[in-house]
C-alpha cells in the first residue's frame, strides 16, 4: 500500500459571504496511519473544527464552503467525490462525535430510532436486526437497560448519557476513522474522564483511527500518540505528544500549555 490511510495535501477552505471569500484553512498537510490517534489542538477560530468538517465536507446549514487541495482517504481523493458518494461515506467510513450532546440529538425521535436509521442506511438492516444491533451498541457504551432505554427520548437522558448515545451512534457502522470534535467540553469534569476512557477503550477494541479535536491539552494527554497544534488556519507545530508537552517549539504552543491547569500545581477552586 503506497498511500497512507489518510493523506491531506494543501487543504484550503473558504466561506463565501456576500461575494467576499474568507479563507479559514491555509493549505494543511498531514498524514494519518490506520488505527492511529492524533490530537488537533487550538483555540476557538483556529480552524480545527473546520478541518474536521472539511474532511466530511459538511457545511453549516445555509452556507457553503469551498475546499481546495486534496484529501486522500484509503486511496480515494474525497474532494473528487460527488455529494452522493460523500453521503454513503459519511457515518460508514468516517464518523463524528460532536461537542454538545444536549443539542446533537433530535428531540422528537427516540434515541434508538436515531441509531436504527443509520444502521438501516449503511448496513441495509431491516427494523428488527437494526434494533438488536442498536441495543448491543448502547450496552457497549455503558447504558443499562439498553433494550428499554432505546425507546426513550433524548430529554430522558443526562448529558453524559447522551454523549454515550452519540458515541454509540458514531461507532455503529464500524467507521475506519472517528472524529471527536470537543467531545467532552460541554460535560461535567467527572463525566469528561468517563467519556474519554470510553473512547480510548473503543479505539483499542475496534482498531479505528481517532482524531481528537480539543482546545484543552489536558484532554489530549494519554489519549493520542501525535499532536498537531493549529493557529489561524495553519498547523504551526506537530509531533509526538510527549515531545510537545516537554519541549514545545512554537510560542503559541507554549501559551496553550501554560493555560492547562496542572494536577501538580495548586488549583483554584471556586
Amino acid at each position: 500500500m503506497s498511500d497512507p490511510f489518510l493523506k491531506v495535501r494543501g487543504l484550503t477552505a473558504a466561506f463565501t459571504t456576500r461575494g467576499r471569500d474568507v479563507q479559514v484553512l491555509n493549505g494543511l498537510d498531514f498524514d494519518m496511519a490506520a488505527g492511529e490517534a492524533i490530537g488537533i489542538v487550538g483555540e476557538s477560530g483556529s480552524g480545527k473544527s473546520v478541518t474536521a468538517r472539511a474532511l466530511m465536507q459538511l457545511a453549516p446549514e445555509g452556507s457553503s464552503i469551498r475546499l481546495g487541495g486534496s484529501v486522500t482517504f484509503q486511496g480515494q481523493d474525497l474532494l473528487q467525490y460527488s455529494e452522493r458518494q460523500m453521503q454513503t461515506l459519511r457515518g460508514s467510513q468516517i464518523a463524528m462525535v460532536f461537542q454538545d450532546p444536549m443539542t446533537s440529538l433530535n428531540p422528537t425521535m427516540t434515541v434508538g430510532a436515531q441509531i436504527d436509521d443509520m444502521l438501516r442506511r449503511h448496513k441495509g438492516l431491516s427494523a428488527r436486526p437494526a434494533r438488536d444491533r442498536t441495543v448491543e451498541l448502547l450496552e457497549r457504551v455503558g447504558i443499562h437497560n439498553a433494550r428499554r432505554r432505546a425507546d426513550d427520548h433524548p430529554h430522558q437522558f443526562s448529558g453524559g448519557m447522551r454523549q454515550r448515545v452519540m458515541i454509540a451512534m458514531a461507532i455503529s457502522c464500524d467507521p475506519a476513522l472517528l472524529i471527536a470534535d470537543e467531545p467532552t467540553t460541554a460535560l461535567d469534569v467527572t463525566v469528561q474522564a468517563q467519556i474519554l476512557r470510553l473512547l480510548l477503550q473503543l479505539r483499542e477494541d475496534l482498531g479505528m483511527a481517532l482524531m481528537l479535536i480539543t482546545h484543552d491539552f489536558g484532554v489530549i494527554a494519554g489519549m493520542v500518540e501525535r499532536v498537531m497544534v493549529m493557529y489561524r488556519g495553519d498547523i504551526v507545530e506537530t509531533g509526538p505528544v510527549e515531545r510537545i508537552f516537554d519541549a514545545p517549539e512554537h510560542l503559541y504552543t507554549r501559551a496553550l500549555l501554560a493555560a492547562v491547569p496542572r494536577l501538580d500545581a495548586p488549583e483554584a477552586k471556586p
Binding site: 459538511l58 459519511r90 457515518g91 446533537s104 433530535n106 443509520m118 452519540m166 451512534m169
Partner: protein, 313 residues
C-alpha cells in the same frame, strides 16, 4: 404534566365566564327593548309586553336573569327563537356542524398550502423564497370576502361549467359535501395559509440551524430522510400551534364566506338573526363560537406544553 394541563383548563374557566357575561350583557343592556323584540313587533299592547317580560323573567334583577340564562345554557338550552318560535339549540345544531366542516377544511388547506410554501421558501431560498414571500404579502392584502367574490366572478365569466352555489350536507354524502365546500374553504384559507407559511419558514430555518440536523447529515442519511425525520418533524409543532391559533380568524371569516357562497351555516344564520333582531340566537352563536375558540386555544397550549416537555425535559 397532568397538573399543567389541569391548570390550563382551570385558567380557561374565568375566561369562559367572562365570555358568557359579555355575550349576555351585549344583548340585554344595549338599546332596543328586549321584550319588544321577543314579542315580535313594535306595536303590541302594554299588557302583552308585561306578560312577555314576566314570562322571560325580565322583571327580575339583571344578575338573576344572567344566572338563569347561564344555567339553561350550560344544560344546552338557549331559549326560543323570536322568529321561528323553536328552540334555539335545535336551530343552530345543524348549522354549527356546517360551519365547523367549512372551518376544519379551510384549516387543513391552510396548513397544507402554508406548510408547503413555507418549507419551499426556507429550503430553496433565493428565487423561490422571494416568490413565496411576494405571494404571501399579496394574499395577506386580499381580504377573504374579496377573494370569495372574485372567485365567484371568475368562475361565472370563464368557467360556467363549475357549480358554485350548491351545498351537500355532510350526513348525506361526506365526499360530495367536502367537494361542495372546496371553493369556499379555499377562499377562507388563503389569508391563514400566509400566516402558516411565514411561521413554517421561520420554524424550518430555526430547526435547520440546530446541531442535530448537522449530526443527521454527518450520519450520512439521505437528504430525504433528514428532511422528513429531522427538519419537518421538529418544525411541525409550531406550525400546528399557529394554525390552531387562527381558528378564531377562520370562524369569523366563515360568516362572510357563507354569505357569499350561500352556505347554510352558522355565519349566515347569525347574519339573518341580526337583521331580524333574534337575540337568543345571537347570544347562543356568540357564546358557542367564543367557547370553541377558548377551548381550541387551551388544546393548542396543551399540545405545546407536551412538545415542550419533550424538548426541554
Amino acid at each position: 404534566m397532568t397538573r399543567l394541563v389541569l391548570i390550563r383548563f382551570a385558567l380557561a374557566v374565568p375566561i369562559l365566564l367572562g365570555v358568557s357575561v359579555a355575550a349576555f350583557a351585549l344583548m340585554r343592556l344595549l338599546p332596543g327593548d328586549f321584550a319588544q323584540a321577543a314579542a315580535g313587533s313594535a306595536n303590541v299592547s302594554t299588557e302583552m309586553l308585561e306578560k312577555v317580560r314576566r314570562d322571560l323573567g325580565l322583571d327580575q334583577p339583571i344578575w338573576v336573569q344572567y344566572l338563569a340564562w347561564l344555567g339553561d345554557a350550560l344544560r344546552g338550552d338557549f331559549g326560543t327563537s323570536f322568529v321561528t318560535r323553536r328552540p334555539v339549540t335545535s336551530e343552530i345544531g345543524g348549522r354549527l356542524g356546517v360551519t365547523f366542516e367549512l372551518t376544519a377544511l379551510a384549516a387543513l388547506m391552510a396548513m397544507v398550502m402554508g406548510g408547503l410554501t413555507g418549507l419551499a421558501s426556507a429550503r430553496f431560498r433565493g428565487h423561490t423564497d422571494w416568490i413565496v414571500r411576494l405571494w404571501n404579502g399579496l394574499m395577506l392584502a386580499i381580504p377573504n370576502f374579496v377573494v370569495g367574490t372574485l372567485i365567484v366572478l371568475l368562475a361565472g365569466l370563464y368557467f360556467p361549467q363549475i357549480r358554485i352555489f350548491y351545498f351537500v350536507p355532510f350526513t348525506e354524502d361526506p365526499l360530495g359535501s367536502i367537494g361542495s365546500l372546496l371553493l369556499p374553504a379555499f377562499a377562507l384559507s388563503l389569508a391563514v395559509s400566509v400566516t402558516v407559511s411565514e411561521n413554517t419558514r421561520a420554524a424550518v430555518l430555526e430547526v435547520a440551524s440546530q446541531d442535530f440536523v448537522m449530526v443527521a447529515r454527518a450520519k450520512g442519511l439521505r437528504p430525504r430522510t433528514v428532511l422528513r425525520n429531522y427538519l419537518v418533524r421538529n418544525a411541525l409543532t409550531p406550525v400546528i400551534t399557529v394554525t390552531g391559533l387562527q381558528i378564531a380568524q377562520l370562524l369569523g371569516g366563515s360568516i362572510l364566506i357563507e354569505t357569499i357562497f350561500a352556505i347554510p351555516g352558522m355565519g349566515q344564520y347569525l347574519f339573518d338573526s341580526i337583521t331580524s333582531r333574534d337575540y337568543p340566537v345571537i347570544q347562543a352563536i356568540v357564546l358557542t363560537t367564543a367557547a370553541v375558540v377558548v377551548l381550541v386555544n387551551v388544546l393548542v397550549d396543551i399540545a405545546y406544553i407536551r412538545a415542550d416537555a419533550r424538548v426541554e425535559g
